[in-house]
């Protein structure tokens, strides 16, 4: 390795790691990658010689890659069929973990063991793939990393999962307009359950107060402050309806949002680039953007999290209601339904003919919002 590396930071001290540090390491890793490419090309010619079959049977580097040797490490990485991201992640991870692979790097490493571990995990997190193309092992790895990071940064134990949809389940929701009294208990429950930013006050649910007689959002307001229920008024809650034809999914330029087999439209928060096309496309204003770094007090964090659900978001990504995917995939009710004191909310499996939601759709007068758009929401309103 004759490549020259960018100058390391001046002194390895206990100071807080900055973004410049990350940039420096990224620059370094790019150079490592380039040199590996060159080396790989050179070695590729050698490997292509008939003497070595490449499966390690001949005793060459591929059999027992020695991580202490940069050449063999690079060779091992290149011989495995892995993506560029994975290779880079493994390589830099190995370096940062302190294998002393390169003398030049050692001075860059932070002195604290925990800082080093955190940096390594954060770096690996930056290089992970879209959730949909991850293997089960990848999912497991990133969830373990996030749990460890939460422990390092906040000192809390998370219980995060990435469990997939159950067979034969499509979720549906029904909202009893004549039962809702406008107490907004569901909103409070949602904020707590979904680790929503307490400072800017992102809320997935809005309860509209409207005058009796007709559903008119022009005259209705979600910003009422008085005592409820008000005489001659009714209350109608909106949130993400998990449309069957979600326009938000169609417009995403990076495929960071998609519909799961159980009908829930989810977002890979780490893949979202924050373009907010989806917010513009949603006819129901169901999506929210994190304009600032979300703040949740450590003692109020809900540790039961799902990768596509209520895990802590970052600044610059879009979030939305997921029917509490972390709860409903475990057979529980969404938090809004559990919090509702009047029983105005009903949740269930649309494919189960004996479910309450199916009974409501079949026996009550139901309607959905903006049905003429063809979005086919899975959220029905009904009256007694």
């Amino acid at each position: 390795m004759s490549t020259e590396f960018p100058s390391p930071p001046p002194e390895p001290t206990e100071r807080e790691l900055t973004f410049e540090d990350i940039l420096r390491w990224q620059a370094m890793s790019r150079m490592v990658e380039r040199s590996l490419d060159e080396q790989g090309r050179a070695e590729g010619e050698a490997v292509s010689a008939p003497a070595c079959s490449g499966d390690g049977s001949c005793g060459c580097a591929s059999g027992t890659p020695d991580a202490l040797q940069p050449q063999s490490l690079g060779a091992a990485l290149l011989e495995k069929p892995m993506g560029r991201r994975h290779a880079l992640g493994t390589l830099v991870g190995t370096l940062l973990a302190g294998t002393q692979a390169m003398g030049a790097c050692t001075s860059v490493l932070p002195t604290g063991e925990k800082d080093r571990e955190r940096l390594l995990l954060e770096f690996q997190e930056r290089l992970k793939a879209n959730f949909r193309v991850m293997t089960d092992q990848d999912k497991e790895d990133t969830i373990r990393r996030m749990e460890r990071l939460a422990q390092l940064k906040r000192g809390i134990h998370l219980n995060m999962t990435g469990e997939s949809a159950q067979e034969g389940v499509i979720f549906g929701y029904a909202f009893n307009v004549s039962k809702c009294k406008g107490y907004r208990e569901c909103v409070a429950g949602c904020i707590k359950e979904n680790n929503q930013d307490r400072r800017t006050g992102i809320q997935f649910i809005r309860i509209f107060e409207m005058e009796g007689g007709e559903v008119d959002f022009e005259d209705g307001t979600a910003e009422y402050q008085h005592e409820v229920p008000r005489e001659d008024h009714f209350y109608l809650g909106t949130q993400c309806f998990q449309c069957t034809n979600p326009p938000c999914v169609e417009v995403c330029p990076v495929a960071a949002t998609w519909q799961e087999p159980d009908g829930i439209v989810v977002i890979d928060y780490d893949w979202c680039i924050g373009c907010r096309y989806c917010i513009a496309a949603c006819p129901y204003w169901a999506r929210r953007f994190n304009w600032a770094e979300p703040e949740v007090p450590t003692d109020q964090i809900n540790p039961d999290q799902h990768y596509l659900g209520n895990r802590l978001r970052r600044k610059g990504c879009v979030e939305k209601c997921t029917f509490c995917i972390q709860r409903t995939r475990k057979g529980r009710h969404p938090a809004c339904m559990e919090a509702c004191p009047t029983g105005a909310r009903v949740f269930g499996n649309l494919l189960d003919p004996d479910s309450e939601i199916r009974w409501i759709i079949e026996n009550k007068k139901v309607f959905r919002l903006k049905e003429d758009l063809g979005t086919e929401p899975r959220f029905w309103y009904f009256v007694d």
């Binding site: 406008g182 809320q203 409820v228 709860r327 475990k330 057979g331 494919l351 479910s355």
Partner: protein, 285 residues
Amino acid sequence: MKAVLTRRAGLCAVGACAGLFLVGLAACAPEGHHEALPDLEHEAEAGGHGAEIDAQPLEGEAEEVHGPAASSFVVEGLLGDVLTMPVQGFTGPGGKPFKVAMRSPEIGHYPCTSCHIRPIGTKSVVLAQMHVQRPEAAAAMHIDCYACHDPGNPLGLRLDCAECHAREGLRDLMPSSSAHLTIRLGHPSGHYRNCFTCHAPENPGLLALQDGNLVTLDEAYRKCAECHFMQAESWAGGGHGKRLAGWQSERVILSCTGCHNPHSPKFPVRRPVTFPKIARRGVER
């Protein structure tokens, strides 16, 4: 746009036809299909509701087993320490039995003497005081001290209020307006506004149905349903009321009195618990 339409049509078809499909499958399925056996056995083992499964009609079983959906998987342990009891007289969607959460652990059981036996000086009215308040009435009904006190041992009491109060003439002696001042009776309306429209005169801890049967406060839905039959039907189906645990658990819902105060069932007027911080203005608001 073509793709969108196609997909929409496809999903619509799935959603709309799922029920018909299931029914069709159930109708076509040969009886005693071999695949049915292991599933049913598994269900019976799982939660100890073998009895309920036996009670279901055969078509219901066939639907459950052969449907493309409806995993028979039941999530348990979400109820916490809520006690439940099976509902009588109503069936849920698909004719399935369900349960209600019991309220007796929460409200306790209040026999008359739990309040009225306290010594003089406490707030509640003492039993003896009540009986001497209208001595002429007591005399008319041939009630003397020995109605309760044991002649041999005056401290030993026989406290079976119902023994006397079930008698026809004594029903009126139980005041409904002046007693139990903490209860503000706002329901039912009109001349039905009387404790004994619902409570049994001989034992106010029980509810008296129109057919003369007495039921516990846990089964209040049976009393409520006598007037509110429309709501009761909706409640049994799932359109009214609140379900506990989870969507994949055994169906346990709150009884009428789990949400409504039976003495004034209307929900209170109060301030909302939270407020929207991000206002949305413009055409759609």
